[in-house]
């Protein structure tokens, strides 16, 4: 129990206290440990946690396959995907380029190979080869995924008389070198998958707008109202909607409110009627400018909602969250809250 329970709690208390009060200490040794080394340890452990996650995933998917659980066939794709990414990340450099140090005796032949390699005309390649100097070799832009394919090109170049050298990307940089295999995986496999997962939500939001966002009570009315104003006012089309149109809509809404409040037809119709007449008179008098009165012009109205009542609400939530996180953190440090070890 001691190792499983007391020590972990002590670690949290010690590290937490050190980090929290490290903010106030100006002693170089402590400061350097708290600010630099302790944070580095944290980063390193965070990295190990990622590996742990990957191992757990493999374990789970393997179990699914071995026990032939429902849908186990799909787990093969998960494991296959992992093996592919792991190979590209750890076992293959996936990025080789060729440097030509000199074109040798027969630049025309070399130019032919170069043109085949990077595309473009033979003349253009000859010009490129002409630029080679002592310390400035020509770097061919094409990146090869495998050593085999780059060897082929290098050999061709050598056969045509050039002095060519294969330059592999260094380990670590191979992840983001432009054109590397890992880079290719990121943009061609990882990107479409993760981006499309999120894009699905646009459709689901639309369908929820149609079928689930209901005005049930006053709170929901406020919410949908401010949401609609933000949605229209934030985008260019909002500035094309006349403030007079918005005023007429407000009058109609007023009628709905009066109707649900008093349930009196005469009162409702007279409210709407008078409202429409007033707005029309004001409109004729002012000459129907699109952006006035400003409070009914969507971009302006949107800005006000966004900057005043919205911030008020968001600030109340922010302070609440701040207090909540503070309280939870203090409870962790003091060892009162132990849910992170499953208690």
């Amino acid at each position: 129990m001691f190792w499983k329970r007391q020590i972990p709690i002590a670690i949290v208390a010690l590290v937490g206290t050190l980090t929290l009060f490290g903010w106030f200490v100006d002693q170089p040794d402590i400061k350097s440990f708290v600010d630099d080394d302790a944070t580095q340890w944290y980063d390193i452990l965070a990295s190990f946690a990622i590996f742990l996650g990957a191992l757990n995933l493999l374990k789970l998917q393997m179990q699914k396959i071995i026990k032939r659980k429902k849908g186990w066939q799909y787990s093969i794709f998960a494991i296959g995907g992992f093996i592919f990414a792991f190979t590209v990340g750890f076992l293959m450099r996936g990025a080789y380029t060729v440097n030509i140090n000199s074109a040798g005796e027969t630049p025309q032949v070399v130019a032919q190979v170069v043109a085949g390699e990077i595309g473009g005309t033979i003349q253009a390649s000859e010009v490129l080869l002409g630029l080679i100097e002592e310390d400035a070799p020509l770097m061919l832009e094409k990146v090869h995924f495998t050593g085999k394919s780059v060897n082929k090109v290098a050999n061709q170049l050598k056969e045509s008389g050039a002095d060519a050298k294969i330059i592999p990307a260094s380990w670590g940089a191979h992840l983001t070198t432009n054109g590397s295999f890992f880079n290719w995986m990121f943009f061609k496999v990882f990107t479409p998958l993760s981006a499309t997962m999120f894009a699905l939500l646009a459709f689901l939001v639309a369908s929820a707008a149609y079928r689930a966002f209901r005005i049930r009570n006053f709170e929901a009315t406020l919410l949908l109202g401010s949401g609609i104003i933000i949605m229209l006012g934030r985008v260019p089309i909002g500035s094309k909607i006349s403030s007079w149109f918005v005023l007429y809509v407000i009058v109609l809404l007023l009628g709905v409110i009066v109707n649900s409040w008093k349930r009196n037809r005469i009162l409702t119709f007279s409210t709407v009627g008078i409202g429409i007449i007033l707005v029309t008179i004001a409109g004729i008098y002012m000459g129907w400018p699109i952006d006035r009165p400003a409070f009914a012009y969507l971009p302006k109205l949107q800005d006000w909602i966004y900057l005043v009542p919205n911030i008020a609400g968001a600030r109340a939530i922010m302070i609440g969250i701040g207090l909540g996180v503070f309280a939870t953190s203090i409870r962790y440090i003091l060892g009162i809250e132990k849910s992170y070890i499953g208690e």
Binding site: D35, T39, A173, S194, A206, R234, P236, R315
Partner: protein, 282 residues
């Protein structure tokens, strides 16, 4: 009247796949046939522009990329816009990433803007320090000693060999901080651990979803202005006078918003009619 109400109620319960198709068409159409709606910069985007515009020439700017492919449509145009503005003014740009994906995004943006458009030199005008894992701890490391966090950059070049890293030891050596952020860790952590404790001026560009989480900081002056989602990016493109991806998405964005608002209104009418009817039958 009754028939109309019947129709509305029936339409209110239409298979949702019809709605999916409508949205797909509405978003796709303007991409092929742009409408060219005018863009008006909002106050908070203007503030970002003014802050960056007022930086003295040759300032050292830390740009942090915390977004990935899933949020690229919103944040990438901002990163590009801000980079263009910074390079136009001749500032030095240091790029860090708190998200692993951010490194790819940053490289793409730098390639497009720094290399192709401005022909700048790596290591003198801009540097991509790259990604380091550890979330807020990385920020804390950059604040106290960037050289312990980054001994090599994303191209595996030692920091000592990069000319523009001369004299940079921690965050106080930078003049400005911009966080292009799509979530955790991101803007909130930069405010809490860098901008507030050290006082470095900071602006941010965030995804729409995050805006409300960050707005109180903007109002309290902890952040100087904010670019909010794709429209924020379009506004920034308008401010620097270089339309890009953000601007071209605005037509589709506008129309889709109108359609969704109409959906909400129509859905509620159907709901109202239906409720009226069920009240009568019981």
């Amino acid at each position: 009247m009754k028939k109309l109400a019947d129709l509305v109620i029936k339409l209110g319960n239409v298979d949702r796949r019809w709605i999916f198709i409508i949205i797909a068409i509405v978003v796709m159409y303007p991409l092929f046939k742009p409408l060219g709606l005018p863009i008006r910069p909002s106050e908070s985007s203007q503030e970002v522009f003014n802050t960056i515009d007022a930086l003295p020439q040759g300032s050292k700017v830390l740009l942090s990329c915390e977004y990935g492919p899933s949020t690229k449509p919103e944040i990438h145009p901002m990163a590009i816009g801000v980079l263009r503005h910074l390079f136009e003014k001749g500032h030095q740009v240091y790029v860090t990433c708190l998200w692993p994906d951010g490194q790819f995004m940053a490289r793409e943006a730098l390639e497009q803007v720094a290399e192709n458009e401005y022909n700048l030199t790596y290591g003198e005008d801009y540097v991509l320090l790259g990604f380091r894992p550890g979330n807020e701890a990385v920020i804390k490391g950059i604040v106290s000693d960037i050289r312990k966090m980054y001994t090599i950059d994303s191209r595996a070049i030692p920091i000592a060999d990069i000319p523009m890293m001369n004299g940079i030891t921690n965050i106080s050596d930078f003049d400005f901080l911009f966080s292009a952020s799509a979530g955790y860790p991101g803007t909130v952590e930069w405010v809490q651990l860098a901008a507030d404790p050290t006082g470095i001026p900071m602006s941010t560009g965030v995804t729409s979803i995050q805006v409300n989480e960050v707005m109180p900081y903007v109002d309290a002056g902890q952040i100087k202005g904010i670019l909010a989602g794709m429209p924020g990016a379009a506004e920034y493109e308008k401010l620097i006078g270089k339309p890009g991806i953000g601007t071209s998405g605005m037509d589709a964005q506008s129309i889709a918003h109108v359609v969704i608002v109409l959906f909400i209104i129509f859905g509620n009418i159907a709901y109202y009619l239906e409720r009226q009817r069920s009240k009568k039958t019981f």
